[in-house]
Symmetry: C2
Subunit: 257 residues, 2 copies
DNA sequence: AAATCTGTTCTCCAGAGGCGAACCCTGTTC
DNA sequence: GAACAGGGTTCGCCTCTGGAGAACAGATTT
């Protein structure tokens, strides 16, 4: 739908891909039925049926009278994800405190498949609602989290991501020129924090600082608030300091495995 | 490993099953590598490699320098699960309040694949730690949640579950005789709540009440606490009332779709 | 009871996918 | 710096899988 899933090199397993297409459809439709899915996905009923049978057997989906839905096993899997990310608890504490301190939205994100994925989100007492949700993804080039991570990534990976990026214009201020991005990344690397001045969502300004472990970036922390409240001075001054402090706290409390 | 996944009727898709085996191994091992997984799962390296490639392409797993791990997309999927369960917010509120009121652990669970799965868990201020976690599963016959759900299920489904149950003795008090279970289920149906008197975990007593929507059970709410604190009177009196009230609150606030 | 929905089962054949070996690449050891 | 060892990746073969479509079976509707 959006952009074609680039195929690095050969051989993905077709039936597994179909299975995940089915799973995706079950995620997004409300309790779909066999025929519904068959129509939507353009496969025969028998094919869909077999896949649903298989997924049900794996206890990933559940059959209810009115159709299929995801099973709660997915929640259990989510627990495992959090367990697998190094120092999840430390991150939670630091982000909570940052949200508390600033009153805005504080988040932690990390790079996956060339995008930022949100791992944790905390709301301060005057925080505005944002569309972002835990597990969601955003482009690297239009978010403060993304840019701060990008600027500290090894240059090979950095280029790879930039090259493959879509550079979709999300707001009038979105950076759409790679050259322009590289410039900013250098700047960020120097001063230690990145900003997003309504580049991803109109009316929203953010600051982010990278979290490093040894030589590599493991993610970044950010604060986001409405442009009306977040002045230039505040953004580059107190807020920038706060996120950097939070990033530091995480770094210091990180136990290497 | 535990009990063989009974095959209802034919044709599950083999490669999809393998894919989920791989996924499971990635869940449980800490950043496994190709060869590691190949050894563990008894498949050739190339097979595993293809599966990992596919799963990575689906952005379900992520490759890091030291091995593969689950991706944060799983967290996003978990959001969808919660969205798909009717009235998640209502449940959260009711369970939170129940935990608050009693000071113990309060939970909401529902039946999936013949077991209880925990959807939400709240801790009261004097709550003991229990092993259960959101997304986890427990037998129907040894938990108050399970029994309360079971007793209000249509008798066909009830029998089906009981017949297929393993009746593993989890503690000395676990019910392992179907006849005994049926007796208790009738009792539960009459009085409207179920108890678990150290039948699932030693030292832990629980009360649960079913949550119904129209004619069918959609799940159950429970409170769990240490046997030392939960006397018979308290269990069958105040606590039983509390869980029933909480169940009722959920029922009343349920918007039918 | 005919019609029209479902979901399920059956059969058939192209081609997919699992295996094993060969290959490559990175880091290590003399 | 050559040889080795450890991974990951690729290749080609052959079998048997899995997808399509039609036929079948329930459930509801007309």
């Amino acid at each position: 739908m959006t952009n074609t899933p680039r195929n690095r090199t050969g051989s993905r397993i077709k039936s597994v891909e179909i299975a995940f297409t089915v799973l995706d459809a079950v995620r997004k439709n409300d309790r779909p039925s066999v025929t519904e899915l068959a129509d939507e996905l353009g496969h025969s009923k028998s094919t869909i049926h077999n896949h649903l049978r298989t997924l049900e057997n794996e206890e990933i989906i559940v059959r209810e009278t009115n159709g299929y839905r995801l099973s709660l096993q997915v929640l259990d899997m989510a627990n495992d994800v959090r367990d697998q990310v190094a120092n999840y608890d430390v991150i939670v504490d630091a982000v909570d405190e940052l949200a508390d301190e600033t009153g805005e939205i504080a988040q932690f994100g990390l790079e996956e498949h060339g995008q930022v994925s949100y791992l944790y989100k905390a709301k301060g007492n005057q925080a505005v609602e944002t569309a972002s949700r835990v597990g969601g993804k955003q482009p690297m080039y239009s978010t403060s989290l993304g840019k701060s991570i990008l600027s500290f990534l090894p240059s090979s990976r950095q280029e790879e991501i930039v090259t493959e990026a879509a550079f979709e214009r999300k707001t009038p201020k979105t950076i759409t020129d790679p050259a322009r991005l590289y410039e900013e990344l250098e700047e960020i690397a120097e001063r230690g924090y990145a900003i997003d001045d309504e580049e991803n969502i109109e009316g929203l300004r953010c600051v982010a600082a990278p979290v490093r472990s040894g030589t590599s970036v493991v993610g970044a922390v950010s604060v986001s608030g409405p442009a009306s409240r977040i002045t230039d001075d505040y953004l580059h001054g107190e807020l920038a300091e706060s996120v950097q402090r939070a990033a530091n706290v995480i770094e210091l409390n990180t136990k290497f495995s």
